[in-house]
């Protein structure tokens, strides 16, 4: 066994230990105002080094890979994870690839320590993936910029150190950094079905600095975040599946454990197949993205993994409710938390249909035979 996979195993073990000690599906029941997460729990995760993983070593981070963080997220996702690990990683990737030296030196060590909380604000409409146009505008004002527009589904929902905003300068799209306490920012929290929070953020001539990286950096960061969200979904799938297998083995009707019925067995196998495929899809997509040389190739790999993970998570959690029967539809049983969390995670950064559309836009069936 290589050192790399030995290191990976240690990371996974530490994540599992944290998950067993500190996380449970019931934790997601309490709405955490104002930012949507429990700061104490976040500090605990920071001690584990999670926000430091993608931060380079010379910036106080661990300098690890997407695949490493994905492996940890899969463990953390099993009992459900009410913490903004992926949103912060999304912003971290944008800063690592697209920020100037000053901003990197100011923010990255603080992110690694779990003290800074950056967010990416890119989405403007409720449906769809980032398109070719952006409505939020950036106007140059001396050596600064002023942003005007509205962004939706911003995660985490408040308490930001600052926001990385995708905006148009009239010609091209760029990334801008807005301090969290800047004037001209108004926010409105939105509650998710899983009691998570996101925010709608309105900028009115909010002061910003422009990052050297533009749309290309954003796409690379988006691809990374999409892969990590898929890894969290994979964990969720494991969690829901394991609870359901337990139930199939213990719940008795007609004098036998219901898991002995072939109709349920075959559907359980299809759930298991969805889980195994999600794992294999993610593993190869991470490799593709890490080896890719363009942001388009990274997004294409990410779309495949997220399409699989989103569809599998809905399939598995819906089947889990069905197999639990009436008790599965009650609020008090934990299996419902998995369905609700799956709804949020499958949608965020694009659901299966949206990923499929993006993938389609990047490839085209070609005739393999010589035809006119």
């Amino acid at each position: 066994m290589t050192n790399l996979s030995e290191d990976r195993r240690m990371l996974v073990d530490s994540a599992r230990a944290f998950a067993e000690r500190h996380l449970s599906p019931d934790l997601t029941r309490k709405q955490q105002l104002p930012a949507g997460y429990d700061p104490t729990l976040w500090s605990g995760l920071a001690e584990l080094g999670v926000p430091a993983m993608l931060v380079p070593e010379d910036m106080g981070g661990l300098g690890l890979t997407l695949s490493d963080l994905a492996a940890m997220l899969t463990e953390l996702g099993k009992p459900l994870l009410p913490l903004p690990v992926v949103p912060v990683a999304f912003a971290t990737l944008a800063l690592v690839h697209g920020a100037d030296k000053d901003l990197r030196e100011r923010l990255l060590p603080a992110i690694a320590a779990g003290e800074a909380l950056p967010a990416v604000a890119w989405q403007e409409q409720l449906a769809g993936l980032p398109g070719t146009t952006v409505a939020t505008t950036a106007q140059e004002n001396g050596d600064r910029w002023q942003l005007t527009g509205t962004k939706s589904m911003v995660l985490p929902a408040a308490d930001w150190t600052g926001l990385i905003v995708l905006a148009s300068d009239g010609g091209e799209q760029g990334l801008f950094w807005v301090e969290g306490d800047a004037a001209g920012i108004a926010t409105e929290p939105l509650a998710g079905p899983d009691d998570s929070l996101s925010a709608t953020v309105t900028f009115e001539m909010a002061e910003a600095i422009r990052l050297p990286g533009g749309r290309d950096v954003f796409d690379t960061a988006l691809a990374g975040a999409t892969l990590l969200a898929s890894a969290e979904l994979l964990g969720l799938i494991h969690g829901a599946m394991d609870l359901t297998l337990d139930y199939l083995g213990t719940r008795k009707q007609f004098g036998t454990a219901i898991g002995a019925f072939q109709a349920l067995q075959h559907r359980a196998v299809d759930m298991h197949l969805a889980r195994v495929l999600t794992g294999c899809s993610l593993e190869t997509a991470l490799e593709e993205a890490e080896c890719a040389t363009t942001s388009a190739d990274r997004l294409r790999a990410a779309s495949r993994a997220k399409a699989r993970a989103s569809a599998s998570a809905l399939q598995v959690t819906k089947e889990a409710i069905q197999m639990h029967g009436g008790i599965g539809f009650t609020d008090e049983h934990v299996i419902g938390r998995y369905l609700k969390r799956a709804l949020v995670l499958q949608a965020w950064l694009g659901n299966a249909a949206e990923q499929r559309r993006r993938y389609a836009a990047m490839s085209r069936p070609r005739s393999t035979e010589t035809t006119a």
Partner: protein, 392 residues
């Protein structure tokens, strides 16, 4: 014991690194495989592939997984997977390979010296072609229910009964079959492996036409067929456990992405030929299938990785068979759907330079979810042996 081979007998493939081996295999197929037989849409008959069989045989390439001492290439499982991958990538058709894939390994592991000396060289040379006698009218998915009886009579067994779904048995000179040698034992016990010369009096072979119109498999009837007792392989009444072991490896190859991959490229071709290539609804559907095939490849890489690392495949290999064949079937459905009334044409529809057989993949998809254990049986296996769900 000597085994005939004209070339290549001294090449030690195991010492070659994987990349060099892959290149050598690729080069071999490119140089020797007949261009007109690439990507055949149906299983080829013996007379179509006899020359290719001979070519493989002459170069010592006919039996990739057999040990070199028995005339094989002596490939480890990892290199064997590479061999098969290159074979599929080049569109190389299967030769009648039951002797190579099943009988050879069976005799090497379980056979007597006499059996090995008698049969192995003739498999390598192509002089004898083997067919399989497993399924019966009353023993399909429930294979352990075989009824064909072999009753001891002096130095012989007298065989009576019927086998079915014997692929290309009309081309076979010999059959390896499962027979019941103990009528009173429990189902799985009392089954033995028997080798039978197809020219023995009392054997009748009746080819059956498939839905696709090919005579791909046969019924074989046994009426007081006298077979030497020396033709039992392994211990009497212990044939079931041998047969089961042979089936596991088969599932990796039955679920290989090859079928789905080539159907997907056929779908792309048909879309271009029918002018639907730019239709956004089709494009999205195609992308979905393209991602399914990519994930199928990822699954295959997972399982073949276990084999390459020298590990043993577990019962979860059934997932590969399930997903490979069902993905293939969905793509075949898409071909029929976008062909519209093209599905009213049996054979080649007048599309493109060579015509386009709309129904070929659709027909091939039907047995794919049945053979090697139906996908329902595969799901039963995963449910109990992998997910540990209770049995009834």
């Amino acid at each position: 014991m000597t085994y005939p081979r004209t070339q290549g007998s001294t090449t030690d493939w195991t010492r070659m690194d994987d990349a060099a081996f892959r290149a050598a295999v690729r080069e071999f197929f490119a140089r020797h495989y007949p261009e007109n037989l690439r990507y055949a849409s149906a299983r080829l008959r013996l007379d179509e592939v006899r020359d290719w069989y001979a070519t493989l045989s002459e170069h010592g390439w006919i039996a990739p997984s057999w040990p070199q001492e028995y005339g094989g290439m002596g490939l480890d499982p990892g290199k064997h997977v590479i061999f098969v991958e290159e074979q599929e990538a080049h569109g190389v058709a299967r030769v009648p390979d039951h002797g190579i894939i099943m009988v050879g390994p069976l005799l090497i592991q379980e056979g007597t010296d006499e059996q090995r000396a008698r049969y192995l060289p003739r498999i390598l040379s192509g002089e004898e072609i083997w067919c399989q006698g497993y399924s019966e009218p009353g023993a399909g998915s429930d294979l352990a229910n075989v009824r064909t009886a072999a009753v001891r009579d002096g130095d012989d067994y007298i065989v009576n009964g019927q086998k079915t779904w014997s692929t290309l048995a009309q081309d076979g000179t010999h059959m390896f079959m499962l027979v019941r040698t103990d009528q009173d034992a429990k189902k799985q016990e009392g089954i033995s492996f028997l080798l039978v010369d197809m020219t023995t009096p009392g054997i009748t072979v009746r080819p059956m036409k498939t839905l696709a119109g090919h005579e791909e498999f046969c019924e074989v009837f046994f009426d007081d067929v006298r077979v030497p007792a020396a033709n039992i392989v392994g211990e009497v009444n212990r044939g079931w456990s041998i047969a089961k072991a042979l089936l596991t490896f088969e599932r990796l190859f039955l679920g290989s992405p090859k079928l789905a991959q080539s159907a997907l490229s056929r779908l792309g071709t048909l879309a271009v030929l029918t002018g639907q290539n730019d239709d956004p609804v089709f494009r999205e559907r195609f992308a979905g299938l393209e991602m399914d095939v990519a994930d199928l490849n990822a699954l295959y890489r997972h399982f073949s990785g276990i084999v390459k690392a020298g590990g043993k495949l577990g019962p979860d290999i059934s997932l590969q068979k399930i997903y490979g064949t069902e993905t293939f079937s969905r793509i075949a459905d898409a071909i029929v759907e976008i062909a519209g009334t093209g599905a009213m044409i049996g054979g080649r529809a007048p599309l493109g330079d060579d015509g386009f057989d709309v129904l070929a993949a659709f027909y091939n998809a039907r047995p794919a979810t049945i053979y090697g254990g139906t996908n329902e049986i595969q799901r039963n296996i995963v449910a109990t042996a992998v997910l540990d769900l209770p049995r009834r």
